[in-house]
Amino acid sequence: MELMRVENVTKTFGTTQAVKDISFSIGEGRCVALLGPNGAGKTTTIRMLTGLLKPTSGQIRFAGANEADAFRASIGYLPQTPPLYGWMNGLEFLVHCGRASGMTAKAATTAAKELLVRVGLEQAGKRRVGGYSGGMKQRLGLAQALIHKPRLIVLDEPVSALDPVGRREVLELLRELKRETTVLFSTHVLPDAEELCDDVIIVAAGKVAVQGALPDIRREHQQPVLELQTDGSALAMSWVDRWLAAQAGKSYVVEGTRTADGFRLVVSDVPAAQRDLLQALAEADIAVRRMEFGHTSLEDLFMKAVASQ
């Protein structure tokens, strides 16, 4: 079931096209990562999803709530730096956000107290938010996005600014959260996306490079890789260079890169590669330390998607 659908959305600031004709959809109950390097257009996209920015062209549709207030009550948003009222205490801030989201005073207070416990701010709830650490602010920001039980939670780089401990805490909270509701979060770190999400949307330079369910993407985009490690001697390395230079004649090589003591090949035909390479190694009498057949990782895909833009 689709909760949100983004269709051919473009956003232009003056002459810069921050987002170029992107389309994707968010299934209900899914955890979706918007993955891309800095400046890819993640924040701009998220601001359009939350209604803060109007797309230059294209449409954003949300299932269920058509009326503006009902829509806004259905989403929870945590911007890149959590905006908080420093003069309130943690509990007051959550209650205020809950009431601003249309909750009654009683419901907001109950929910706020529960959430403070859940995000580990039970003790800090009575202290001024202005004195919180970065990790505490982020957790309070997260609680603020959850208090009205939204159908979709949108988080902009929720862990990027945190130290390893704070990062771990927030990631664990997200892991719990994604079981309860639909989550979309942006990140520029692949492991965060791999760790939590069901779907990834890789964006680079304002465009969607790759998108889909994580296992599907792995399956569709992974290619066999052959890694060779020699003893690193001059003899071996000159053979490596010669072999790579002559790769044009070897149709099974998709991409070859020299490493410190060997090479790494992305290949299309594993048996052909194996046959040809073993024969060549035997003929040249090269000392092999390691030879391994594997697959390209998501990291390779991400780097390629980012580099090709």
Binding site: G51, G64, E67, A68, A73, P83
Partner: protein, 283 residues
């Protein structure tokens, strides 16, 4: 702010019964209460009335003590001292209003310079607008806070002036007092509202205060030069307030200026709403 487009097709998420929202009025009240609580916590609700009271009480007391002060300074001959006329009660009150012209305007602009611009800079304004809070509710709740605090502070200060004038110089009629209070208070609210508007348009709070004070100064000067043509200008309000005290009857011109100022306030709030909607955050 944009709403979502209606989602076409029925293959989409089944409607989960949306829990009922509180009414927009309740949500507005939540925002207004937050403004007042913030003013209380930041002591604005304390220092602003205090400063206004100080200014208001000082003028009658100073005028009362003036002959004694001059005598003790000993720089003027006895005969001249006796010739200094003792001002009438209504004159004292009018002079007090004159004290608010600069200090009152400055305090009002400084007190409200961060109200919108601070929230735009910190991102809380944008955050609130992603909740079921309209830009209009956001601005008007702040404006209502401004109205409350400004009128409270000015009334307290002006009442102090009225009281000391009564004690030291004699009574000024309640009608004159109230009429001038409303006219002058409207002028201060106008300055505060300008600060709100510029706070929604400009990046920094200081720039907003500066722009609001500049607007007020230009309006006062220009409307004092063209009193006939600009009879309805908000810049004439302070003159009408003191005219009311000193016996002149500003009458229809004052009513016109008050009405036109209210129109300006509405337009400024509408401008602030539009500005916030297009640029809810500073970056």
């Amino acid at each position: 702010m944009t709403g979502p487009d209606k989602m076409a097709g029925s293959a989409l998420a089944a409607d989960r019964p949306a829990s009922k929202l509180t009414s927009p009025l309740v949500r507005w009240w939540v925002l207004y209460r937050k403004e007042m609580l913030e003013s209380l916590r930041s002591f604005k609700l304390l220092w602003m009335p205090l400063v206004f009271i100080l200014i208001g009480a000082m003028q009658p007391v100073m005028l009362h003590m003036l002959p004694d002060l001059l005598a003790s300074a000993g720089s003027l001959p006895e005969s001249v001292l006796h010739e200094i006329p003792r001002p009438q009660a209504f004159e004292v009150l009018a002079q007090t209003l004159g004290q608010y012209d600069t200090m009152g305007a400055l305090i009002t602009a400084l007190a409200f310079m961060a109200v919108v611009s601070g929230e735009r800079a910190s991102g809380t304004a944008a955050l609130m607008l992603t909740k079921p809070i309209s830009a209009a509710a956001f601005i008007t709740s702040k404006w209502a806070g401004l109205l409350t605090i400004t009128m409270l502070s000015f009334s307290a200060g002006y009442a102090a002036a009225w009281y000391y004038t009564y004690v030291l110089f004699g009574a000024v009629g309640a009608g004159k007092f109230l009429g001038s209070l409303l006219l002058y208070g409207l002028w201060l609210v106008f300055i505060g509202t300008c600060t709100l508007l510029f706070g929604s348009l400009l990046k920094s709070g200081a720039a907003a205060a500066f722009a609001a004070l500049g607007t007020a100064a230009v309006l006062s000067i220009v409307s004092s030069l063209y009193t006939e043509q600009l009879a309805w200008s908000p810049g004439r309000l302070p003159s009408y307030a003191s005219a009311l005290l000193t016996g002149g009857d500003p009458g229809s011109a004052a009513a016109g200026a008050a009405a036109f100022t209210v129109v300006c306030l509405i337009a400024a709030c509408a401008g602030a709403v539009a500005a916030l909607r297009t640029k809810p955050s500073v970056d």
